[in-house]
């Protein structure tokens, strides 16, 4: 067995309480956070200011201008391999193997007010909230977790791409620092993620594959794989454990509810379910990364056809087709479903709805999972405090679901759905 197929294990350490202290560390299920120390560790020349703040579940707080959500991870036997390509600058070969320590019950939120920083085109970025209490709390997939908020202010004159890279690095460094408190400790749980090709599975079991649609369109709307902006890429078969191991990191700050934040890749409910069921209810045929948000009809059709072709090469009987963001990318999903069905591969699409319908639909899309209605209004709420903006943050107003980060994410990681009303 080559090293690329070695096991990946994710060791989870449950945290039930986060307290502030003079040294970041862990005492059983209590995480002690030295806030100034974390902020100092996250600084860079591209940022004028970095502050770290702890917000707990049920705190009457709205966090605004949320860019990303990250699970605290560290490579237990390869510290520099944590979030590969971003914290190690991509200096070496990396495989999704070895052991990751993950803190459960805590998420790191990166926050930056690009408008206030005067970033070009920042007006086009939508509001992005995480509510820790109030009526919007069930739009927060991480509502039960303590939020460690890393708020960054870009340094004047720094190009937006450089400032954004610094923001991303800051949140990843904080995430790694929090998870590093578990090194040398015994976890509460270990999930063994073996490459499916190394696990016996009866050939008569149905073969299921996952299609993870990703878009990467430039600064502030990029997705990074192994540290590089993915840009326009061809559909690719990858080791299905790549996202779980932190190889894919978000830098895309478009529509919050359907935003694939980094935590969604790290959590990858779909991949985990497929790995867990492999050899029992079905065989996991593989994972295809497929581009979404493509500009032209020809590009969309080519990508959909190539994705289906790869699925056929994987001998997939069926595929779960996820979606990246809303609108345009729904066409990519629909064409992929059609291409799969035309090859005899049963397909299910995972999509968010807008009030009253879908952006696109093909007759072959007869099997769809709803991840919720982006346009439903959430009752007005007046939090005691707003973090992340000096603006009004829609306090006391109804807030559309689309403004809540991760609420309707179309990877299958959340539990929201829409039903007839």
């Amino acid at each position: 067995m080559s090293s690329t197929l070695a096991d990946l294990s994710i060791a989870t350490f449950a945290i039930h309480e986060v307290v502030e202290g003079t040294r970041t560390g862990r005492d059983g299920s209590t995480l002690v956070v030295d806030v100034p120390q974390l902020a100092v560790g996250a600084r860079s020349d591209a940022l004028a200011e970095v502050t770290v703040e702890v917000v707990r579940p049920d705190d009457p707080v709205r966090i605004a201008n949320v860019l990303d959500v990250v699970l605290p991870d560290v490579g237990a036997d390869d510290l520099d391999g944590t979030f590969p390509g971003l914290l190690d600058h991509g200096r070496r070969e990396w495989f999704p193997t070895g052991r990751i320590h993950r803190v459960d019950g805590v998420v790191v939120l990166s926050v930056c007010d690009w408008r206030a920083a005067g970033a070009p085109d920042a007006d086009e970025l939508p509001d992005a909230y995480v509510d820790m209490a109030g009526p919007g709390v069930d739009r927060n997939p991480w509502a039960g977790d303590v939020a460690v908020v890393v708020r960054c202010v870009p340094a004047p004159g720094v190009p937006v791409a450089d400032a954004d890279a610094a923001v991303r690095r800051a949140s990843l460094l904080v995430a790694r620092a929090l998870a590093s408190t578990t090194l040398g400790e015994s976890p509460d749980r270990i999930d063994l993620c073996r490459h499916p090709s190394t696990v016996e599975a009866a050939p008569d079991l149905p073969a299921l594959a996952a299609v993870l649609q990703i878009a990467s369109e430039g600064p502030l709307v990029d997705t990074f794989r192994l540290g590089r902006a993915m840009g326009t890429f061809a559909p690719t078969v990858v080791d299905p454990r790549e996202p779980l191991a932190g190889a894919i990191v978000s830098g895309a700050y478009d529509w919050p509810a359907v935003r694939n934040v980094t935590a969604v890749y790290q959590g990858s409910a779909l991949v985990r379910e497929l790995l867990a069921g492999h050899g029992e209810r079905f065989r996991m045929a593989g994972l295809v990364l497929a581009p979404g948000y493509l500009d032209g009809a020809d590009e969309k059709q080519r990508a959909a056809s190539r994705t289906a072709e790869l699925l056929a090469e994987l001998d997939a009987d069926a595929a779960v087709c996820t979606t990246f963001s809303s609108g345009n990318s729904h066409t990519d999903t629909m064409l992929t479903i059609r291409a799969c069905e035309q090859r005899g591969i049963a397909a299910v699409g995972v999509l968010a709805e807008t009030n009253g319908g879908l952006t696109d639909h093909v007759p072959e899309a007869d099997c769809l999972v709803s991840t919720g209605n982006e346009d439903e209004l959430v009752d007005a709420w007046t939090p005691e405090r707003v973090i992340g903006t000096e603006g009004d943050a829609r306090v006391g107003e109804q807030v559309p679901t689309w403004a809540y980060v991760g609420a309707c994410v179309e990877t299958g990681d959340a539990r929201l759905t829409a039903v007839p009303a």
């Binding site: 069930d138 069921g277 009253g356 879908l358 099997c367």
Partner: protein, 345 residues
């Protein structure tokens, strides 16, 4: 029958309110205490209106803003537990008034039940804000529809959520409510695809009910007025009317009489869904005025309409897109436009 949550309010047209027949269709909005006409049938079914509002059908249609303003002011004052509009049966004008009032009341958070034929313009006008009970086309359907309306209205007046459309007897509202469920989307997707492989196809999202079919070919384009319509976000430089760059809920129109083409110094695109660099270099690729003028000059089309219509078609909720389409189509009809060149991006 005032409930703890507020009074029951009923809306009728001039005929059912006893104000008169067609000769009273211009009657201005009035407020009457207690049940009137079909309100008494509702009362017999257990839902006694406290207040009846009424307006002439023509008055509402010809002075919609004013009539609606009066009716909504009363509703704001009354803060009803539920509003019942109609039944309007097959009456287009009455159905429309019921639908518009229902929509606006719904937007104010007032639960609304109405009844009309499923093809009534009021169903569309309500935009899913009301529970619409399908009825027959004339008053003979009253005895069947009133108990259904009363039951639904009582449920809403109590602050409860009605059951699904097929059980409660109302038309699907094309509204989808978010709920948290036990299993993740991934778990549900795997389950769905496994049963699909066994031949059992299920879905959480039904396919769109309304398919848009291509319009028939224009018999003789040389005789018709042609309009240019776009969702490309094409506006005068500076976006003076603040067209939204995405999720637009409005549309705009700009004059093109006397223009041979769109000048790059004068027009731009504020569309947030595509790279607008090339379009900004030549806005005629968004709104093909130059080509349309050539067709006009050659006599291939009768005449080019004097305005182009524009919105930003990106991340637009379907309900907004439908409303924008209908409004633009109505304006084009009024201008006697016979064909449209619709450019999409």
């Amino acid at each position: 029958m005032t409930t703890a949550r507020g009074p029951i309010v009923h809306y009728l047209n001039q005929f059912f309110a006893g104000l008169g027949g067609e000769e009273a269709a211009g009657h201005e909005a009035v407020r009457i205490d207690g049940p009137v006409g079909p309100g008494r049938a509702l009362a017999a079914a257990g839902l006694a209106p406290d207040v009846t509002l009424a307006c002439g059908d023509d008055r509402f249609g010809e002075h919609e803003e004013e009539s609606l303003g009066t009716l909504l002011a009363w509703l704001d004052q009354l803060r009803p537990a539920v509003l019942v509009c109609g039944p309007a049966f097959g009456s287009g004008r009455y159905g429309y008034a019921c639908g518009v009032l229902a929509r606006e009341a719904g937007r104010r958070g007032i639960p609304v039940v109405t009844a009309m034929t499923p093809d009534s313009p009021g169903v569309i006008a309500a935009e899913g804000a009301a529970y619409v009970v399908p009825s027959g086309s004339n008053v003979a359907a009253m005895k069947d529809v009133v108990p259904v309306v009363a039951r639904l209205a009582l449920t809403l007046a109590a602050g409860d959520q009605p059951g699904p459309p097929d059980e409660e007897g109302y038309l699907p509202r094309a509204r989808r409510a978010n709920v948290l469920v036990e299993r993740t989307g991934a778990e549900r997707a795997i389950e769905l695809v496994l049963v699909k492989l066994r031949g059992d196809v299920r879905t959480e999202i039904e396919p769109p009910a309304e398919l848009v079919h291509p319009a028939p070919a224009v018999a003789d384009p040389r005789t018709v007025t042609v309009a240019l319509v776009t969702e490309s976000g094409c506006v005068p430089v500076g976006n003076p009317d603040r067209l939204q760059t995405r999720r637009a809920a409005t549309w705009l129109r700009y004059p093109i009489d006397g223009l041979g083409s769109l000048d790059a110094d004068a027009y731009t695109s504020v569309h947030a869904g595509f790279d607008t660099s090339n379009a900004q270099a030549d806005p005629n690729r968004l709104v093909p005025l130059d080509a349309a003028r050539a067709l006009e000059r050659d006599g291939a089309i009768g005449r080019l309409h004097g305005e182009f219509y524009t919105t930003s078609g990106v991340d637009t909720p379907v309900a907004s897109a439908v409303a924008i389409g209908r409004e633009i189509a109505a304006a084009l009809r009024e201008a006697q436009v016979g064909a449209v060149i619709l450019t999409g991006t």
